[in-house]
Symmetry: D2
Subunit: 90 residues, 4 copies
C-alpha cells in the first residue's frame, strides 16, 4: 500500500470500527445474548468488511494496475487481484 497517507487513515479508521464491532460480538456471546442479535451483529460486520475489501480492491486496481510503474508491475498486480477475486466470486 503505497497510497496517500489520507487514504491510509480512512482505511485504518474502518479497520478500527470493525474491531469495535467484533468486540460487540464477543460481549454478546459472553452475556449470552439471543442468537438473533448475534446474527445481526455478524451480518453488519460482513457488510463493513465487504465495504473495506471493495475499497482496497479498487485502490489496488487504480494504483497498481491502471497506474502501474511498469508493464511487469501491472501484470503482477492484475494477477494478485484475479487471485483474490477467485475467492470471492464462487
Amino acid at each position: 500500500m503505497s497510497h496517500t497517507i489520507r487514504d491510509g487513515e480512512k482505511l485504518l479508521a474502518r479497520v478500527r470500527r470493525l474491531k469495535g464491532q467484533m468486540d460487540a460480538v464477543e460481549r454478546a456471546l459472553v452475556a449470552e445474548k439471543p442468537c438473533g442479535e448475534v446474527l445481526q451483529l455478524l451480518a453488519s460486520i460482513r457488510g463493513a468488511l465487504s465495504g473495506l475489501t471493495g475499497e482496497v480492491m479498487e485502490a489496488h486496481l487504480h494504483e497498481h494496475v491502471v497506474h502501474a510503474e511498469s508493464e511487469a508491475e501491472r501484470a503482477a498486480a492484475a494477477e494478485e487481484l484475479a487471485a483474490v477475486l477467485r475467492t470471492y466470486i464462487r
Copy 2:
C-alpha cells in the same frame, strides 16, 4: 468481447450448460420435486454462474485493462470492472 474465438466458444458452452441447469430447475418445479432437490439445483447453478463470471472478469482484466490499447481504454475498462465488483463484494 473482442477475445479469441476459442475463448468465446468455451464461454458459450458454459452459458448453454447453465441454460440446461435452469431447465432442470423448471422441470423440478413443474414435477413438484422436493424443496431440498430444488435448492441443490439452485446452489449448483450459482456455482456455475460464479465460475463463468470469474472467467469473464479475468478475461476483461487481462484484455481490456492490462493489455488496453490506450490509457483512456484502460481507465474506462477498470471503471467497468470496479462497478461490477461493487455488486459482488458487499
Copy 3:
C-alpha cells in the same frame, strides 16, 4: 415442493425470466458485445438467482421446518437447509 399452486406459478415465472436473461447473455456473447455489458448481464442474473433462491429457502423453512408434519420431517428438512446454507455462507 408441496406448496400452493400459486406460489409454484410465481417461482416458475421467475425461473422463466432467468432463462430469458441467460438467453440475453448467449446473444451478447455471439454478437461479441463488450465485456462490460456481459458482466452487467451476469450480475443481474446473480441478483435474480439469489432472489429466487431466498424465496425457495424461506418457503422450505416455513413449510417443511416450522410446519413439518412430524419431528422426523422437521429434523430432516432443517438438515437439508443447513447443508445448502453451508454452500452459500462461506
Copy 4:
C-alpha cells in the same frame, strides 16, 4: 444464545481469533504492506467470519427452530433466521 457452555467457548475462541486477524490487517496498513498482502488477509477474515456465521446460524436453527419450546418461539426464531438470510443470499 442459551446453548451449552462448551459451544459458547468454541464460538468465543473463533471470535478472538477473528480479532487477532483484524489486528494483523491494522498492522499491515500501518506498516504500508503491499495491497496484495492486505487483500489476502481480508479474504481470510471473510472466510473465518463466514465459518463463524454458519455455525451460529446452524445452532440457531437447531436450538430455537427445530427444538423450540413453543410454536410461537419456533415461528419467531424462523423469522429471525429468514431476515438474516435475506442479507446473505442476494
